[in-house]
């Protein structure tokens, strides 16, 4: 009985160690750390965003803004909430292949995008933008400037 009891911590350590090891390797193999970077190439790790990456690199904004500059909030906590939310949905979608194709922006992400357009271009557009720019019926910048971020689509 005492022998079993003294082997217990060892067993627990081995079990948890195995899970941690496999988990850590999967994280590395899945390039998990890249998602903490600002490199646009991280967004096409899984190839689903290849078209979006290619059209961004040919679009007018590629010299001025990376993926995260337009598609994530800039404040620390909202940024990580958005990262976690999108990260969860994207991994789930890609693993189970159950997402809408072609991919389309979610309303919450569209609001983030709109806020980021205004963040840089507020000086130009403050005469045009009256009241809310993120309300349901508000006209979004990309309604007309669809090619600003992503140029030629193919």
């Amino acid at each position: 009985m005492t022998r079993v009891r003294s082997a217990l911590p060892l067993v627990v350590v081995i079990l948890i160690g195995t899970l941690a090891g496999v988990g850590a390797y999967t994280f590395k193999y899945g390039e998990g750390l890249s998602y903490f970077s600002t490199d646009p190439r991280a967004c096409k790790n899984c190839h689903v965003m290849n078209d979006q990456y290619a059209s961004w690199s040919r679009g007018p904004h590629h010299a001025a803004a990376r993926c995260i500059d337009c598609h994530l909030p800039h404040e620390f906590i909202p940024k990580y909430i958005a990262k976690a939310d999108n990260g969860y949905r994207h991994s789930k979608g890609f693993t189970f292949m159950d997402f809408h194709d072609p991919i389309m922006i979610k309303p919450s992400n569209a609001r983030t995008l709109q806020a980021n357009c205004v963040r840089c271009h507020a000086d130009f557009v403050h005469d045009i933008v009256r009241g809310s720019t993120t309300r349901e019926d508000a006209v979004l910048c990309v309604h007309c400037h669809r090619g600003a971020g992503h140029g030629a689509r193919r």
């Binding site: 009985m1 079993v4 079990l15 195995t18 689509r153």
Partner: protein, 491 residues
């Protein structure tokens, strides 16, 4: 807690922990494998398990290597229906929907059998069985587009595809068909170390080898009729703003003829492969199959080429003599490529394949959907990649364009049959072909335009404004002809 229960509980906790860790490792290794598979998919879009070559017309042999594309290709056998095209069973006679077609085709084989379309899988079978072929003599040139024919051209021309094209085209349909069956397909022998092929009898509908180079899988055009036609278009002076490579070739030295396989961009090739067959042409038998693009792709440019064209016997060009009016009329085939050329999609660089074979995802792979079909059956992938609006909204747009065209087409057909009635009445009253010459010339012009739209497979969608313009001209010419016929009757 008694001293006996404590160790028991610890054992249970240990078992539970083991189960939790096992489940965790199970899920994490599952994820790891899934990531691994996706990475492999992205690295190797296909594995060349067997060799295929230019003589492999059997698509099943290619399907061993390119199973995703082959699976989709086979689905062209599925019956599909849109508002104005297709049907669930053997397609209905078109004259059921458009009774005026029977009068328009009076005296021509299309009056005896003319059914709605089916998928690519049926192109050969439907041609073998239509009463137009079984009851009327037809030339071998029909097979240029209804079967995987190039190896037969090569065999009959002793290596020269264009010579074989002339030879096979001059045969009867049945004799030409037998030649295609005799050529068969060079199929790879499975399991042989070095590439080894076995010839197998049989004719196949248009298959992989007709659009793809078996070495690189790159797109290519193979149909002699198309290559000559597009060369004639390039050599002419009609502007082709949607085909930049032709404009570029025209600015060059022009010492070598325009060659789509060399000069065209990949995006242009994604339309040219379809334009090999979905076009206007003359199929014989009075001369070799040709595409009438010398003066340009628009309805009146094609008409002007036909009007200036003389058959080898010196007679002016016509398809058949109309049984009611005696006019030497033209038959429009299915000018999809020409109509698309006049539309906003072509001008924006959108190719046939973008809507009819849109990209789809298969794991980490981007695959062009080889189930070639109406974009209206696949709006998400066909339209939303560029137009990010609700499917219902896009469908409503299609319906608006097509139902307007449909109404205008029926109106034009009414004008055309009224013209025929006026000619018949004048003839009854003793008017001669000489006094009716103006009316008959207008019959030819009006009918050519009505047929150009009726035979085209998009009910106006490929170029809505251009289609409306063509129908407006048709109505005008038909009513002018009606007036001329009445005037002739009074003389």
């Amino acid at each position: 807690m008694s001293p006996e229960t404590a160790p028991k509980r610890r054992t249970w906790m240990l078992i539970a922990l083991g189960a939790v860790v096992a489940a965790g490792v199970f899920l994490v290794t599952g994820l790891l494998t899934s990531i691994f598979e996706r990475k492999q998919e992205a690295k190797n879009p296909y594995v060349r398990l067997v060799e295929v070559n230019d003589e492999t017309t059997d698509p099943a042999a290619w399907g061993v290597n390119w199973s995703r594309q082959y699976d989709d290709y086979r689905r062209t056998a599925e019956p599909t229906k849109t508002r104005f095209g297709g049907s669930e069973t053997l397609p209905a006679e078109k004259a059921t929907e458009f009774p005026w077609l029977t009068r328009m085709f009076a005296g021509y084989a299309f009056a005896i059998d003319y059914r709605d379309r089916r998928g690519h899988a049926y192109m050969l079978q439907d041609q073998e069985q239509t009463r137009r072929v079984t009851e009327r003599p037809q030339p071998g040139s029909c097979l240029q587009c209804h079967t995987s024919v190039i190896p037969t051209y090569r065999r009959l021309g002793n290596g020269d595809v264009f010579k074989g094209f002339e030879t096979l085209g001059a045969m009867s349909y049945q004799a030409a068909h037998a030649e295609v069956v005799k050529t068969g397909s060079s199929n790879p022998v499975a399991g042989s170390g070095s590439p080894k092929f076995d010839r197998k009898d049989g004719a196949h509908p248009v298959s992989c080898v007709d659009c793809h180079d078996p070495r690189s899988m790159e797109l290519r055009v193979t149909r002699p009729g198309f290559i000559r036609g597009i060369q004639a278009l390039a050599s002419g002076s009609s502007p082709t703003p949607h085909l930049e490579s032709i404009e570029r070739w025209r600015r060059g030295s022009k010492t070598v003829p325009y060659d789509p396989n060399v000069d065209a961009s990949r995006q242009e090739m994604r339309s040219f492969v379809c334009g090999q067959c979905h076009v206007e042409y003359y199929c014989g038998p009075k001369t070799t199959l040709f595409y009438p693009w010398n003066n340009g792709l628009r309805v009146e440019q094609i008409e002007s080429y036909y009007d200036q064209y003389k058959f080898p016997d010196g007679h002016r060009f016509y398809d058949w003599k109309h049984a009611e009016t005696g006019t030497e009329v033209l038959k429009a085939q299915h000018p999809e490529f020409e109509t698309w050329s006049q539309g906003v999609h072509a001008r924006s660089g959108v190719a046939c394949a973008d809507c009819h074979m849109p990209y789809k995802r298969d794991g980490a792979m981007k695959v062009s959907d080889h189930w070639v079909r109406s974009p209206a059956l696949n709006i998400a992938r066909a339209c939303q990649a560029c137009h990010p609006y609700a499917e219902t909204e896009l469908q409503a747009r299609i319906d608006t364009i097509q139902s307007r065209t449909h109404e205008l087409l029926n109106r034009a057909a009414k004008a055309l049959t009224d013209l025929m009635d006026a000619v018949a009445a004048a003839k009854k009253g003793g008017a001669t072909d000489a006094t009716l010459a103006d009316a008959l010339a207008l019959h030819r012009k009006a009918q050519w335009r009505v047929d150009f739209v009726a035979a085209e497979n998009s009910m106006g969608f490929h170029a809505p404004q251009e289609t409306a313009r063509v129908l407006a001209e048709a109505i005008d010419y038909a009513r002018q002809g009606e007036i001329k016929a009445r005037q002739a009757a009074k003389k």
